[in-house]
Symmetry: C2
Subunit: 233 residues, 2 copies
């Protein structure tokens, strides 16, 4: 089975640890495994996930698999086509536009009015910026992409709202699917390293208003670049 290989590599023991560490349910662990397979790009957008295949690969029952898949469908990582199965989501231009519509409301607002604008909060932003610079220095473009997500996650964390952070996590997970559809991931994030640094410096200087405006402009540019890439696809 074409998808059994990467999946079975990544888990080895799901039911085995059940008796020792029952820190979560089996379905949750299955969902975690599949989610990581998707976000890491080993399961590409459009890939089919047959229930039976996952059962044998993961060594769990079909009921458990179905529960995990339902959860991931709710997270928009997978989509369910009735009586046909579940597939890795394939975000189109309309999805990109809507994700950025939501981000352009949430991120600047969190920067501008967030209640968690504290030294530690800003330090988290700085940490993400440095993580990106370090990854770029050694040419790890996958690491740059991850650091970029941490950057935007840290921006929303300035809101101080766990619910908004969770929503942002879903939007960023969708963004990973968008990037996995593109051929040139390496060069995409690099231009934004400098912008991240500048925005972070504004935050460290307490200039929230200008930082928020810069974030909005940043998101506009990123969206335009992505849609342009989609057009040539």
């Amino acid at each position: 089975m074409h998808l059994a290989d990467p999946v079975s590599d990544a888990l080895a023991s799901l039911g085995r640890t059940r008796h020792f560490v029952n820190r979560s349910t089996t379905a949750e662990r299955v969902a975690d495994v599949v989610r990581e397979e998707v976000t890491e790009g080993r399961l590409r957008p459009g890939a089919r996930l047959p229930e039976q295949g996952l059962c044998t690969a993961l060594g769990v029952s079909r009921n458990t698999v179905r529960e995990a898949l339902s959860q991931l469908v709710a997270e928009r990582v997978l989509v369910r086509e009735p009586n046909r199965g579940v597939f890795v989501a394939v975000p189109g231009p309309a999805d990109v536009r809507d994700v950025y519509r939501a981000r352009k409301l949430i991120e600047p607002a969190a920067v501008r009015h967030g209640e968690a604008f504290t030294p530690t909060g800003v330090a988290m932003v700085r940490s993400a910026v440095n993580e990106g610079l370090a990854a770029a220095a050694v040419g790890e473009w996958g690491g740059v992409a991850t650091a970029n997500q941490h950057f935007h996650k840290a921006l929303v964390a300035l809101s101080g709202s766990p619910r908004l952070e969770q929503q942002m996590a879903l939007l960023l997970a969708e963004m990973r699917l968008v990037f996995h559809r593109m051929p040139e991931v390496r060069s995409f994030h690099e231009p934004y390293l400098g912008r991240n640094d500048r925005i972070c410096a504004m935050l460290e200087a307490g200039e929230r208003e200008t930082a928020a405006a810069e974030v909005a402009e940043y998101l506009d540019a990123a969206q335009a670049q992505l849609l342009a890439a989609y057009a040539q696809l």
Copy 2:
């Protein structure tokens, strides 16, 4: 069973319609029924939902029930306590604060910068305002509460983002649980009818900035009133 009565009243036929109208899966329909039972207040916060009881009441299998319950847990309508079962969520003061934290970022931003600020979008807001006034005129305070939710839903719809609208729907569902914990629901929404009308008038006049500021103040007042009510509880 103490919870079988209201549930069994509300459905009558779940599996029966399966052969005729298969518009959605059984799990989805079960989730819809339970969600409505909760939002309508027939299942109160803290109520327990035993899987077996739901099975017999709804005439579906445990697998289907578990799938539906998982979905509602993801929506924060229910909470799962490992190996103990699922319960209707009991939002505390911290939840109220966080829901309003998120709303105070999203709603004013949607009013201020939303891409769907159109005559039809504003008309939806006006429609919700009128719905509330009509319900209040005949003393239907439950209808006033529902109309109020439609009002805030319409505000976020001005963003033009389906994803933000869905997120808002989750937040409003949590708010219903908050209201169901309070004894005086009737009088709570009434003072806001006038504010809704004023905000709508500002939108109709194109004064988005002042409307957004008014929405922010509105939300602050509502949060304070709710937390005060929680303190005397």
